[in-house]
């Protein structure tokens, strides 16, 4: 496993994973993942289908429970806390889902305002001002009264980001932000992520398999393959890596043909660790 040069002592670890294992029933998906994300950096989690990166993201925001190991968000181990404490942490993070996950029965404005209405005692007029601000930050000024079904894919993603930003989070998570978008719109989303980091010094975690976006927005990257961390480091370090799995992923080399469906599934999700058991 490659490591980046030790980050400066002044940087604080916002997210810290130690030997994280996550299982769905009998099947273990993540086999002891460990890494840190520093305050203010853009960390891209790269990986192919079935690599476990989505499970990793879901566990980071508390949607899945680890079977063992530690996840520390700002020092607190979320693997072992109560729902109430987790809710307090969730008020300080934002997540943008793959399809946007906007609530279809509410307008864009109501979507963005929802966390504010639920968790703050702010006046309606104040909330209106904040939501206009958030929409402007993502380039959706004037769209408060549109329904999600009236928005294009790119606009839905922006609205989802605005909603994730509503409570001024310290950590922002993105699940496949460029998925399903044409290259120009995808570039717009990438730029938005860079702007957010620039303007707010947020810690941003992006899960993606789009290499171009990843190299553009990342400070550091971590490659997950079959539930293990295969490589971690700055974009230059990964680009220069000689690890075979890293090279295969970055150089887009196809997997060898497999005849049996079960073999293919096994190849995707298990590895020597499992076979050795």
């Amino acid at each position: 496993m490659e490591q980046s040069a030790n980050p400066t002592a002044a940087s604080e670890s916002m997210i810290s994973l130690r030997d994280l294992r996550v299982s769905y029933g009998e099947r273990e998906i993540l086999h002891g993942v460990s890494f840190d994300v520093m305050r203010g950096e853009n960390m891209v989690i790269l990986g192919g289908s079935g690599s476990g990166k989505s499970t990793l993201l879901r566990t980071l925001v508390g949607l899945e429970k680890p079977s063992s190991g530690e996840i520390r968000l700002k020092g607190k181990n979320i693997a072992a806390i109560s729902t109430a404490e987790m809710d307090e942490i969730r008020k300080k993070i934002g997540m943008s889902f793959q399809g946007g996950a906007l609530f279809g029965s509410m307008t864009v404005g109501e979507n963005v305002a929802l966390p504010l209405r639920e968790h703050t005692k702010l006046e309606d007029s104040t909330i209106k001002v904040i939501l206009r601000l958030k929409l402007e930050q993502v380039g959706l000024s004037g769209f408060e009264n549109y329904m999600p079904s009236q928005l294009s894919g790119g606009m839905k993603k922006r609205a989802a980001v605005a909603r994730a930003l509503a409570m001024d989070p310290e950590i922002l998570f993105f699940d496949e932000p460029s998925a399903g978008l044409d290259p120009i719109i995808a570039a717009g989303v990438d730029q938005l992520i860079l702007d957010l980091k620039q303007a707010f010094h947020m810690t941003i975690i992006v899960v993606t398999h789009e290499l171009a976006s990843a190299f553009l927005i990342a400070d550091r990257m971590v490659l997950i393959d079959k539930g293990n961390v295969v490589a971690i480091g700055s974009t230059e370090e990964l680009r220069a890596s000689t690890h075979p799995r890293v090279r295969q992923f970055l150089d887009r080399i196809a997997e060898p043909e497999v005849a049996q469906e079960l073999d293919y599934l096994q190849m995707l999700t298990e590895d020597d660790y499992r076979r050795g058991r």
């Binding site: 949607l63 008020k91 889902f97 793959q98 399809g99 996950a101 906007l102 609530f103 966390p115």
Partner: protein, 265 residues
């Protein structure tokens, strides 16, 4: 042996299902009664808009259906009563059957078709599009946000709808009563009211509330249990309707028997 194992399995699955419903119901009850005391919102606004959907918008179809049911009841009872020259009892037959049984039951069936399916479809779709996950990551409890307003709406609306259904049924019966049973409209209504005891109406309303709770629990449970994809949402919606129909009849049986054994002899 196979059959015994299958029956055993079905029984335990059924009990597990009821347990899941009870768990959902109790969590919704927590957010309705206890959480507000701890400062969490009651979401009355959402409950009111659900009540509009569940109750007010159901009135046209419910009125038509229960009007016809009342007329059917009158015709069926008259079929037998005329043998004894007792057609004047049609009014009371319709009134008692509606208030004790058919008013609550038919109302519940209409609500299952309209709202039970809608609840499952709404929540199921939200599950598939990750909206439920989004709620959780925003520290909003999905049960508090989605389920509790529906329970409140159903509990408020079902008794109201049932009273309306009872009235429409009696009205439907009056068509026969006036046309073929020598009643005038005022006398028919009077005969209906004379036949009713308060307990007839009250037992009907208690059943209505229990039906409402059942339909909401099943609809929401099936919604949350939806697998991935549009086809699964359709499955959940169908299951919600079918299981609700069965459980409503079961609840009906339990409470009808209960009221029978509790009634003064």
């Amino acid at each position: 042996m196979e059959l015994a194992a299958q029956i055993g399995g079905s029984v335990t699955d059924g009990l597990a299902y009821l347990g899941a419903l009870a768990s959902l119901g109790s969590r919704a009850a927590y957010f309705t009664f206890i959480a507000p005391l701890k400062g969490k919102p009651l979401r009355f606004h959402r409950a009111v808009s659900q009540a509009m959907q569940v109750g007010v918008l159901a009135l046209p179809i419910l009125s038509l259906i229960t009007f016809f049911i009342g007329l059917i009841l009158a015709l069926q009872s008259a079929y037998e009563l005329r043998r004894f020259g007792a057609l004047n009892y049609v009014a009371s037959a319709v009134a008692i059957s509606m208030t004790r049984e058919l008013g609550p039951l038919i109302t519940a069936i209409v609500v299952i078709g309209r709202s039970g399916s809608a609840f499952a479809a709404e929540i199921g779709t939200m599950k598939v599009t990750e909206e439920i996950d989004a709620l959780e990551t925003m520290a909003i409890n999905p049960i508090s946000f989605l389920v509790t307003p529906k329970f409140l709406a159903m509990i408020m609306m079902l008794p109201c709808l049932t009273i309306w259904a009872n009235f429409m049924g009696i009205l439907g019966g009056s068509v026969f009563g006036v046309a073929k049973a020598d009643f005038t409209f005022p006398r028919y209504i009077q005969a209906s009211l004379d036949a009713l005891f308060l307990r007839d109406i009250v037992t009907g309303l208690i059943k209505a509330v229990m039906f409402g709770i059942t339909v909401t629990a099943v609809g929401c449970h099936e919604g949350f249990a939806t697998g991935g994809g549009a086809e699964q949402v359709g499955r959940s919606t169908t299951r919600a309707v079918v299981v609700s129909l069965f459980l409503v009849i079961l609840v009906d049986l339990v409470f009808t028997a209960l009221f029978y054994f509790l009634s003064p002899s």
